[in-house]
Symmetry: C2
Subunit: 187 residues, 2 copies
């Protein structure tokens, strides 16, 4: 059975994007030969992405994983337009439903391979619902100072993760964590 992974670039100070989803701070960062991204692309059967991520990937990027992932993708959006979402010529599907149903659908499409989550909002919903198995972050040597944070949960208890591995790729450090599924395990 495939896993559900959250995969993201992260600034040292905990931002996944600057103000207005700006990713300019990430462009100059040397991510090395990109073996983690290659491995993720190879092991992934479907993507579940947020609305902003889809927009950014289509307008400002060469597509998911630099165009290397051209498999099924789903965009969680509660006011979907009539036309299906497109990222650089690849057509996906809007899902107007709860996170559990959306993950179930994405897993079915992944057919035993992994589902990758792109987008903090969708990832937080997966985390809260106990649907996320792993977090992979590429820490960039940048202090961004403001913008979209990896995680924000005012009033919530801290969530303990299980450190799986860390290694350098270019200027970044790739950290992998397993997510414990029950509230008891997370303390």
């Amino acid at each position: 059975m495939g896993k559900v992974l959250w995969h993201t670039m992260l600034s040292l100070d905990g931002f996944i994007a600057g103000p207005d989803d700006d990713m300019g701070w990430a462009f100059g960062v040397d991510g090395g030969p990109g073996q983690t991204a290659d491995e993720v692309v190879r092991s992934t059967g479907a993507l579940l992405v947020g609305r902003r991520t889809q927009d950014v990937e289509d307008r400002l990027q060469p597509g998911f994983y630099g165009g290397a992932f051209r498999g099924p993708f789903f965009v969680l959006r509660h006011d979907p337009p009539a036309q299906p979402p497109v990222v650089k010529g690849v057509t996906g599907q809007f899902l107007d439903m709860g996170i559990e149903q959306a993950v179930t659908l994405a897993k079915k499409a992944a057919d035993g391979a992994n589902v990758v989550i792109l987008g903090a909002n969708v990832a937080r919903q997966c985390l809260a619902a106990g649907l996320l198995n792993e977090i992979i972050v590429h820490i960039a040597p940048v202090l961004v100072g403001e913008g979209v944070r990896l995680f924000e949960s005012a009033g919530g208890a801290p969530i303990k993760l299980e450190a799986v591995s860390s290694h350098a790729e270019g200027e970044t450090t790739v950290l992998r964590y397993a997510v414990r599924q029950t509230p008891e395990e997370r303390r």
Copy 2:
């Protein structure tokens, strides 16, 4: 000539403390044999700390570096009490002055060894003034969700750091960065 280092534990989501300076999230984290802390203590001649850090280290902790650092320390505070600051029986000195003067004093006390900054507020002032040479963070496998952030700078430009090294220590990953000194180098 010694360096000025900012040394801190950091949650994966970019917090150095929870709400009200709570460090409960860090207590269960296995930091391994602590070779980085040992090395920092050996190479450090003086500490420059914030007011909250001094209070926490004295009241809630066994002292700086678990009591291993008993050298000179300075507390930057603009309304210093008449009595000098004390951390677990070691007496320091309050400094009611600007950051440049304070760093100069701490460097003098360090006598060629490093000065370690403890406390986000003091560290940010050093960073802004071009006085910080290195950042060492121990990333803990925890999502804290709210509290005191490593860095916050609304409206500021992102600051590019130079990745020096990364390695695992217990459940944490230790990342070292060199700070570029001029605005041009930081882009």
